[in-house]
Amino acid sequence: MAERGDRGGFGRGFGGRGGGEGGGRGRGRGERRGGRRGNKSEEEKWVPVTKLGRLVKSNNITSIEQIYLHSLPVKEHQIIDTLLKGLKDEVMKITPVQKQTRAGQRTRFKAFVVVGDGDGHVGLGVKCAKEVATAIRGAIILAKLSVIPVRRGYWGNKIGLPHTVPCKVTGKCGSVTVRMVPAPRGAGIVAARVPKKVLQFAGIEDVFTSSRGSTKTLGNFVKATFDCLMKTYGFLTPDFWTETRFSNSPYQQYTDLLSKPTTKALLPPTEEPLQAEA
């Protein structure tokens, strides 16, 4: 029954209660919608929200490096799913986090998830939620939103593929600082268990690390490692001394392309009205 009183009439205009919600008859008629909703929950098509998402969905952007080149913020995790296919994820830790209330303690779970493809892309996500599954799901999404490129370089001879960090870098979070130092091939990742995982996902094969601060707070430890990896591409090495040739950001590139007048002009369909009235 419609409620009187101040109520937006938009729903009433459609008889929204007949259309959308339950009620046996409503469901019977709207079954198509309900059924569709059921199907959708299995494999839902991604409807992009941001401009970057629309460009990725229409395959105008094929590689994630185009996004990194222009430092475009990634706001939808489906973008990363589309562009990076081989992304693996792992939960590093689920810890309960408690808050004291008058009625006792309220426990929520905090999940740390690291995603990476083992070849230069890694992301870290942290999420608190009331249930473990929700926390993990949310953390995976946040990790995908935070995927960064990792620069690898050589310790000495430049033969083969890059295998270690290009230079000494250090990252900090809270009181923990992590320092990564290039290592020769075969050294492996010389780090504590927790940051080692992050470095493996990043695709770094050999590195010496040194940490300082209260590394017992492993949340900060992991974030410091991640911060350190972020800085690998921020470090200006002589390779970057040449002048940058700036290119158009994907936003401009595709707007210009599509705003050119198309060859097909919008001509009035002069024949059609006659047929409609015939």
Binding site: A2, G5, D6, R7, G8, G9, F10, R12, G13, F14, G15, G16, G18, G20, G23, G26, R29, R32, R33, R36, K40, S41, E42, E43, K45, V49, T50, K51, L72, P73, V74, K75, E76, Q78, V91, I94, V97, K99, K110, C128, V132, I136, G138, I140, L142, L145, S146, A192, K216, T217, G219, Y254, T255, L258, S259, T262, L266, P268, P269, A276
Partner: protein, 372 residues
């Protein structure tokens, strides 16, 4: 009052210029003006910045039922400019609220009703729709009939070309209508100078409770199982312990907490084209949003009514790939929030003469939030 109604995409129009009536809610196409005493002035349909013609972005039939009076003939038109430079400038958007202040027996523009019952604010007549519009009013007082009315209502909605189906939406031209009515058949509007967006109709759906959001689809499930977690949590033997963790708000590199909440609401119904919540709260994707101004006529502070959502742009873009002469890519808004006058005031020219119905067009306010 706080409930949110979502506008979900329905069927595509056969022709983007086809004529509906002002009881239909649709996106794109040409605006359907009801019969007006004074036609809509040209100035309202021109862009403030470039002077070109505005195109209709959304036409939403939004009747109101308030305690004192009900306004059944109330339509909101959202107009925007498609030129490249104007698209990102919020001044190029215009929102018009068109309403009829008094109900009139001799009104000419309700071709659907066989007879013209006198409209009062306390009882609303039931009407069987016979055409594609959705101007159905439901009787509130009769319990026994209300069930049947819902049936007819739902049937009407289906017949009113507001059915939704993902696959059908894409090939809208293949879907034949069940009913083609005489007076309101699909005529074309011969207005060839106005730019036209691809047109599709809207059906409304209630925003269901939070439970759905938790089950909101999670594509590409993770490779983790809960059992593994419990196993790994037993490996505490190495002297590591995760101490000192406190609650942390969601944060990602490119997205902050406000945006993530916005996205979460969107993920519950990924196809929502707009959110309607008269007097409710808007969903802001960014934290600092300018406050709406005051109504120019009565001076009261404007209130949120509806907001347009990004999937709308996606659908329009999909449809306009081949046939558009202007580009929609100039639009990069994340949401357009529309505020209207809470008193639904008129432009002052209509008086309380009995038996006189007047239609007013009032310009309302739209706040455009850009996607950086």
């Amino acid at each position: 009052m706080g409930e949110v109604i979502l506008g979900m995409p329905g069927q595509w129009a056969h022709d983007y210029r086809e004529k509906a009536d002002h009881y239909t809610s649709k996106i794109g196409g040409l605006p359907d003006w009801p019969d007006l005493d004074i036609p809509v002035s040209g100035k309202l349909l021109l862009c403030d910045l470039c002077g070109g013609k505005l195109c209709l972005m959304a036409q939403i039939y939004a009747p109101l039922s308030m305690a004192e009076r009900s306004i059944d003939e109330r339509v909101i038109y959202v107009l925007g400019c498609m030129k490249k430079d104007c698209g990102s400038n919020p001044q190029s958007w215009r929102v018009l609220r068109l309403q009829r202040c008094k109900q009139d027996i001799e009104s000419k523009d309700e071709p659907l009703k066989a007879e013209q019952p006198e409209e009062e604010s306390t009882s609303v007549a039931e009407d069987k729709p016979t055409s594609q519009s959705s101007s159905v009013k439901v009787c509130d007082d009769e319990d026994s009939d209300s069930d049947i009315d819902l049936d007819d209502l739902a049937q009407a909605l289906e017949q009113a070309a507001t059915l939704a189906s993902n696959s059908k939406k894409q090939d809208g031209t293949k879907h034949t209508r069940k009913i083609v009515e005489g007076p309101v058949a699909k005529k074309l509007i011969y207005d060839l100078t106005t730019p036209v967006l691809p047109c599709f109709y809207i059906y409304s759906q209630r925003n269901s409770s939070e439970g759905r959001m938790d089950k909101a689809n999670f594509v590409g499930g993770s490779s983790i199982s809960l059992k593994e977690i419990e196993k790994s949590s037993g490996n505490e033997s190495e002297g590591e312990s995760w101490e000192g963790e406190a609650y942390e708000y969601d944060k990602a590199l490119g997205a902050d907490r406000t945006y993530l909440k916005f996205k979460k609401q969107l993920d519950a119904y990924p196809e929502q084209c707009f959110r309607y919540s008269y007097g409710g709260n808007a969903l802001f994707p960014v934290a600092n949003v300018p406050k709406p101004g005051a109504c120019k006529i009565c001076g009261s502070a404007r209130r949120f009514e509806l907001q347009l959502m990004p999937p709308l742009l996606y659908f329009l873009q999909e449809a306009s790939d081949d046939s558009s002469n202007f580009s929609i890519d100039g639009w990069t808004w994340l949401t357009i929030i529309i505020f209207t006058c809470p008193k639904n005031c008129c432009s002052g020219t209509c008086d309380e003469k009995s038996g006189n119905s007047c239609r007013c067009i009032v310009e309302e306010e739209a706040i455009v939030i850009q996607d950086d």
